[in-house]
């Protein structure tokens, strides 16, 4: 079973949005920078005036890893499995670690392949996962 994300002061809004199947990313009100995970101040300008803003959910594949050994709790029965790092289209270097709701062969993945958020409900929590258009796999 997947570990359940445990929200804290910084992340509560992000996970509440996810529970409503919305992808909301922290954004600076002063300079408009998006940043993830949420922080107390803006990475770029230092402003403390930050808010959550819903994003399109469109992303591109940045990288991935296929795990063959039992390295992480909750995944011992899933081996091998592939996690994917996607870059949200709203901004350069705005990455989210995620995986794909439908397993794909990692050999078919390509950097830059378009992916779109798809929320999946688990027992008591939801997770943003990303689906790749079948036509965009190698």
């Amino acid at each position: 079973m997947r570990p359940r994300p445990c929200p804290d002061e910084l992340s509560a809004g992000f996970w509440e949005a996810v529970d409503r199947h919305m992808l909301s990313i922290q954004r600076c009100s002063a300079c408009n920078l998006y940043q993830h995970p949420p922080q107390w101040s803006c990475d770029a300008c230092g402003s403390l005036d930050l808010r959550l803003e819903e994003v399109s959910g469109d992303a591109r594949v940045h990288s991935w890893v296929t795990t063959y050994r039992p390295l992480a709790a909750g995944f011992h029965g899933q081996l091998p499995y592939t996690a994917v790092c996607v870059g949200l289209v709203e901004q350069d270097n705005l990455y989210l670690l995620t995986d794909l709701p439908v397993g794909v062969n990692e050999r078919d993945l390509e950097i830059g392949a378009p992916a779109r958020v798809k929320f999946v409900d688990y027992d008591g929590f939801a997770l943003p996962q990303f689906a790749i258009e079948p036509g965009c796999l190698r």
Partner: protein, 399 residues
């Protein structure tokens, strides 16, 4: 600014404990390393007035005298009765403890400082730290802190992050994945002739590397360092005193650790790694008044093999995206143009989180590399970390 204390402190003694993969108590090994480092330069425990170590990263749970030997343990076990300056740091890597000691000696806070690092192989050799989430199966685990964004997707190990960066590197630069074989086999070849290496006398073939178990693709088992239990220590003193020591000194031409302001935490990119490492390297070259072409050897952190490529690029030994071709067997072997990890690295000497690299840089500059000694060792650099997270480094020179 440029560091004003370049070459005012030197490494004058080196001591290795046995590196083991058994239940030998760590204090015995820490004492072994300390005793050897102190005796190596003709001093006695009573001469040591400064001590510094880096036991483990901030937040890592550890038990003193079992998982680490910290300052209090070492002062006790090695019978250091005259300590007037001490430091136990938890930010950076062991280079941070070295930096503290160098500054303490340069400022006159102490004269002879012992710096060490202890490591204990985890009971389960599952390779890679798992922060916040245990690796044992539990029915309903909670992912807290930074793990909440990654543990639900089964990513909690440094190994998996290293694999993701490496995948991105290979694709971005169209690098030949199998070129990494040169890094891994070079490390093993050097360990085979290093009596202080866990793989002393145990060679590895290209076929064994190519067919080794995939752990987190594209990283294989032999791309990961080998967990060991042991200790390595060095003895530092001022340049004036160093001149009269038994061995030629290895002067600290420059030393430092990375600052990294941006907090993308789990989303560091390949560019973050190399650019941040590059800033540190530029500072070290400037402080030392030396550059990559002056180095007779480079000791590059290799907790996972790709870090060697990243450091080669970050430190300016080759251009961005060129490391897979640059780090050829011919160039990086003991008789090559740039011998790398002449002692076997973490990959094949053992996982000492950079202390093995420091000790080897000193031995090479002192001319005490034995069968591993490189021809041109007037200056040797060491770079620690991945390179960005907790990066650090130093340049040692004969003059």
């Amino acid at each position: 600014m440029t560091w004003t204390k370049s070459r005012s402190v030197a490494v004058v003694g080196v001591g290795h404990s046995r590196l083991v993969r058994d239940q030998t108590p760590l204090p015995i090994l820490a004492l072994e390393a300390a005793t050897r480092a102190i005796a190596d330069c003709g001093l006695t425990p009573a001469d040591i007035d400064g001590v510094a170590t880096y036991p483990a990263p901030a937040g890592a749970p550890y038990r003193e005298d079992i998982d680490v030997v910290g300052v209090e343990g070492m002062v006790h076990y090695a019978h250091l009765t005259n300590v007037r300056w001490l430091s136990q740091v938890n930010l950076g890597l062991v280079v941070a403890a070295m930096t503290e000691a160098v500054h303490a000696i340069a400022s006159g806070a102490c004269q002879n400082a012992l710096v060490w690092k202890t490591m204990r192989a985890p009971a389960r050799h599952n390779r890679g730290p798992c922060d916040a989430v245990e690796t044992t199966e539990r029915p309903s685990s909670l992912a807290t802190g930074s793990a909440q964004y990654v543990a639900p997707y089964g990513v909690t190990s440094a190994l998996q992050w290293a694999a993701m960066k490496f995948e991105n590197y290979l694709r971005t630069y169209h690098a030949d994945r199998e070129a990494m074989s040169a890094v891994v086999l070079n490390a093993r070849a050097n360990a085979v002739i290093n009596e202080n290496a866990i793989f002393h006398g145990r060679p590895l073939t290209a076929e064994e590397y190519a067919s080794s178990e995939m752990v987190a693709a594209p990283l294989r088992l032999h791309d990961c360092d080998i967990p060991v239990t042991g200790a390595i220590a060095v003895l530092l003193t001022s340049a004036e005193i160093a001149k009269d020591m038994p061995h030629p000194p290895a002067y600290i031409a420059s030393i430092g650790v990375n600052g990294f302001r941006e907090r993308r935490t789990l989303n560091y990119t390949l560019a973050d790694h190399i650019e941040t490492g590059g800033r540190l390297a530029a500072q070290l070259w400037r402080d030392a008044g030396l550059g990559p072409s002056d180095m007779g050897s480079a000791q590059l952190y290799d907790g996972f093999s790709p870090s060697v490529w990243y450091w080669l690029e970050a430190a300016g030994f080759c251009g961005r995206g060129e490391a897979s071709k640059f780090a050829s067997a011919d160039r990086t072997c003991l008789t090559g143009e740039l011998p790398i990890n002449t002692f076997g690295g973490s990959l094949s000497q053992g996982r000492m989180h950079g202390m093995g690299h420091i000790a080897e840089a000193a031995l090479q500059v002192m001319g005490r590399g034995g069968s591993r000694q490189v021809d041109r060792a007037d200056a040797v650099c060491m770079f620690d970390g991945s390179p960005m997270v907790r990066g650090g480094g130093l340049v040692l020179s004969r003059s």
